[in-house]
Symmetry: C2
Subunit: 206 residues, 2 copies
DNA sequence: ACACAAACTTGCGTGTACGCAAAAATTCGC
DNA sequence: GCGAATTTTTGCGTACACGCAAGTTTGTGT
């Protein structure tokens, strides 16, 4: 009795991808992000360095992917799982917030926020949800304008990025002086950001 | 009587930047994008290769910048130039469409659309308007939520990217067969895309 | 089972990105 | 105007991204 998902090829590919990003994260935690070479990651995952680059196009991407891996498709799945009679705006907001409520373990998060490159990659990782979201939104918007699903998905992704950028910026205020910062929780920021695009979602559905 | 703008330093910097992107575009048009080396660009602009990378972080960026250079700040300026009593949604839409109505000369456009890397960079160049737009929008939204200007600017930028992506995709359908494509004008696409985010702008202003 | 097609991996080579520290240019206080 | 402070340019070195063309593995039809 085999497990399930698709052919062997796809499973192997996924396994390689996960092995790579897991190795990347582990090594980065052990030695610090700057002391991890691509070759180290490849070796730890048991593939050639060249293969590493078939999966990730930057070191940062591999590290961050260990944390953000399935989030994009999970958001779309979460949206589909919501009752169809629920307004799109609420459904989307809840789907997104839900996927960001269990943030990575403290150590991984500390690692990511400690490096500008990793921070950027982490925030930008939210663009990955655009395509899945677009499909899921399209299913709820049959009669809308052609560009509507794409634009709305892009807007949601953009709002998410703004919220994330705000959130991770909490730690970039280096310099020695302790700046008084009003720390807001991520769900909080996400809800505020998404509330700004909600009217667009309502209008598209209305 | 000197011209105007700021100190010598800033003018030189700007001149260097323009020389670099102009050289990049000219060389790409002459030889094709793949036959242009960073060293060629640097030499044509009279700076060291290393300096080139102080201005642009990819060859594509330099080429595309020749066309998109000031667009971001022009959008913000156009928005500020609009009557304050005009609804934000209209003002933003017109400001954006206005800046995209005179698209680059055919040859440059053909060059850009002929390469996936350049197409991507061209579309992504729209993110540059986020920051300027955020400031300009903030000036019209005094009492709104903290994240509102950032989110709305990001949404507008995202909508613009969707429209551009659709537009440039007109030429990526290669393969020999002539596919029947409904070509829509860029202003047309921009208006449809921006119409999707307009409700959010109205709500923020409400 | 078998052989053929399609997809993935790998090594190699070329061009690129960027940190660092020294040198050149510009600005500023006096 | 003049010398010190700041900013920019530059060379160098290292690591990286990616096209290409084999070589290898997986999927398919018979």
């Amino acid at each position: 009795m085999p497990d399930e998902t698709g052919g062997l090829r796809e499973r192997k590919k996924l396994a390689t991808r996960e092995a790579l990003s897991a190795a990347a994260l582990r090594l980065a935690l052990e030695r610090g992000a700057e002391n991890v070479r691509v070759d180290d990651i490849a070796e730890a995952a048991g593939v050639s360095p060249r293969t590493y680059n078939n999966y990730f196009s930057s070191r940062e991407q591999a590290i961050v992917a260990a944390v953000t891996a399935e989030r994009a498709s999970r958001v779309a799945a979460a949206l589909r799982a919501r009752p169809r009679e629920e307004p799109l705006a609420e459904a989307v907001t809840e789907a997104v917030v839900e996927q960001y409520t269990s943030e990575p373990a403290g150590e991984a998060l500390a690692l990511i926020t400690s490096s500008p490159r990793l921070r950027k990659e982490y925030v930008e990782a939210a663009v990955a949800m655009r395509q899945p979201l677009e499909s899921a939104i399209a299913e709820r918007l049959d009669g809308a304008a052609a560009l509507a699903p794409a634009v709305l998905a892009a807007a949601v992704s953009a709002a998410t990025r703004v919220a994330l950028a705000h959130w991770v910026r909490a730690s970039d205020t280096g310099g020695g002086f302790v700046v008084v910062r009003v720390e807001r929780s991520l769900p909080d920021l996400l809800r505020e950001a998404l509330a700004q695009v909600a009217p667009a979602l309502r209008a598209a559905q209305g």
